[in-house]
Amino acid sequence: MRESRGSGRPGLAPPRPERGTPPAGGPVPYARRAARLHPGAWWLWALALGTAATRTTNPLLLALLITVSGYVVAVRRPHTPWALSYGAFVKLAAAVLLLRLAFAVVLGSPIPGTHTLFTLPEVPLPDWAQGIRLGGRVTAEGLAFALYDALRLAALLICVGAANALASPSRLLKSLPGALYELGVAVVVALTFAPNLIADVRRLRAARRLRGRPDKGVRGLVQVGLPVLEGALERSVSLAAAMDARGYGRTAEVPPAVRRTTAALTLGGLLGVCAGTYGLLTAAGGGYGLPVLLAGVASALAGLWLGGRRTLRTRYRPDPWDARAWLVTASGVAVAALLTLAGSLDPGALRPGVVPLEPPTLPLWPAAAVLIGLLPAFVTPAPEAVRDTREEPTP
């Protein structure tokens, strides 16, 4: 009693910071594990933005989409090595853009154009290569068309990169249903395999230098191939041993009847999906396609659910699907839906013509719709600050 009151005396008990709160905790909540957004929400948001990008070829809208996703990545990506993959995706997108333009210049474009920018010497091709052109006239219309087209693909790639950076695929795989868990682990292990392999190649190529052999060039790469594979194999074996010793693959006893039902449901479901898809795609089977497909999906899902009973696994702190996850997903889906709608209402603004060549204009309300995609930057918590003391202090 006395003690509990004693602590109320002024000046004696300064309020202790709560355990686990970051030292520099400002008003922004940090994305500690509990506050993390469900990875599925990030992926849905990013893929929806990607879908939106496929609905338009307007370069201004596409640039806006890229900016929106880039901004969210910049402020919300976590400090994990995986998040650095965004840069790689951006580079890939740039490469795609340049390649497409180079093709348009060298191989010409099917777009008829009148504004000739310059003319490359045309390479005469034999008769059998009719329809292919090398060099020749390069028109502004052709280039613009290629640019719009490539920008769309680039935007899509950058959106996938955003999904990767915001929530690594391995986190996404953890949300798989129990029956698919082992598949998920296999993929995760494979995902970590690649970076390890690259690290090994680097280390062994460096070691070549120590032997007095050149550490660059193709021959060096070939010669380290075998040791690298050996090392990778050894590591895989020891990982498998460790996983086995830690209980990977423990299964519960289930009655044979359940096992058989599971197999029947899954197999039947997959067959149904195949038959239904076939029916949908062929003109003749229009009537039965959809119902068979739906029945197949239902049966496969039931098989998965029943199969999940064989695994003992429980899940540690699964990411909850909360209101913020709904909001993030909804913002992405809204962008995709509104752009699709705009595409049917006002096709001219979303697909600016190149013949005759005219400067693209920014259609007002579709642009506003794209801005909805910024919502995650405000409703999700900021990533936790890095507390590595060896990190460079920011100047």
Binding site: V185, Y248, R317
Partner: protein, 554 residues
Amino acid sequence: MIRFENVSVTYDGAAEPAVREVDFEVPEGELVLLVGPSGVGKSTVLGAVSGLVPHFTGGTLHGRVTVAGRDTRTHKPRELADVVGTVGQDPLSHFVTDTVEDELAYGMESLGLAPEVMRRRVEETLDLLGLAGLRDRHISTLSGGQRQRVAIGSVLTPHPKVLVLDEPTSALDPAAAEEVLAVLQRLVHDLGTTVLMAEHRLERVVQYADQVALLPGAGERLRLGSPAEVMAVSPVCPPVVGLGRLAGWSPLPLTVRDARRRAAPLRERLEGRRPGRDTAPPPAAPPVKRRFGRVKKENAGTPEPVAEVRSLAVRRDRVRALTHVDLTVLPGETVALMGRNGAGKSTLLSALVGLVAPSSGSVRTGGAVPHRTRPRDLVRKAGLVPQEPRDLLYADTVAAECAAADRDAEAEPGTCRALLDQLLPSVADDTHPRDLSEGQRLTLALAVVLTARPPLLLLDEPTRGLDYAAKARLTAILRGLAAEGHAIVMATHDVELAAELAHRVVLLAEGEVIADGPSAEVVVASPSFAPQVAKILAPQPWLTVAQVKEALER
């Protein structure tokens, strides 16, 4: 808790059993240390406890192993996962997930524990191992000691009755090793966990053991007894025991404290004597400060340095690995680089052979700028034996490896083999480098590097995984090389090795040099880097048992 009944294990294709007629029992709640020279089957015994031998490795197991009443013959490793936790030599190959918290939970998820239980145990384990601040960290960003603690934590959370550890401290710096051992002791004392562990660095662990199981040699029978009893006959023993044997103390002291209390008479006998050659100052005392330009002319008598590093800074992935490092190495001098895991020791060695380019400052090895020199010329100036000597070996027989080394170094054919014969006579030409023991592989890599006769020899963590015999052989080899005029720089956590070999110790912390001076001064001044003999005989400047022995015989 663990019971071996007449166990022999024969691997497929092997003529002889790896271990023969092992028969012992580990009672509940004891910490038992498994010791013995390399290659006597310690890992096999450990693997048999978790069921990985023979379920995973193949081979035939005769006899019976039971853990908590379960026969490993009928229980696969995954069915023993709730009673046995195993941590192998390399924690990195143990991790399945990518963050600390998920890794701790992984084993429990496999066992199907309830979410509340998992949450509680993860929090407990984070506190127990001091990992709370790292819970969200990506595993690839952790240091060696942190990784080892996470690996131990990850097998602790399912609350196993038995913990099996293979060399838990050999890759760690002294402070991190103590951290890990303190945790183990806490588990044994507070939770009654049974621990069986193998470790070469006895000086670190023997005082924590309740019993010691000794495998004296290949095919010999296992002997179990109290640490003092077993250490009296063991072919491998830590310096404190070596000193005890030398001084004839009985019972043998196992801790520095026990030994100190006995050491007063020995200190008196040694009064007035000085250590002999081993730590004699280097041929010429290195100039301490050379910040301003060239060495003055009056130093003309000193030999040309084989390596010179001036205010070197190296950045790796935006992290400053080294800042303002100055180092001069003279011919015939042996320098030990010490410091925490991640202090920049390996980076400094890499800079000396041009594997990393300096971001500022300069490095000169034998008068050349290493990262701009062609590898073929550089091997004649400096040779590095990396942490994993296997990285240097590509061929599939020892003979082919030696021939390749001669070609690389443009040396007379047979040079490398002759060197190898000098260092390690017993290796056959047609052996695959992978089948060599750690010590043999290290020696082969050393021979390969020495083929080009580099005046500067660099070694990264050379004693990892070596037993005392292999270490003694390495020490003799390196001492011989230093006497021939080779300069040696080695990065090591092994304080005993540094005490035996190094003329000079350079301490690194956070990429900076924090101490540089004669071994006796630097090492003795630091409680975590002082070798056992120094601690026992302080304030007298003795570092190794060999020194004391020599002084007593004089």
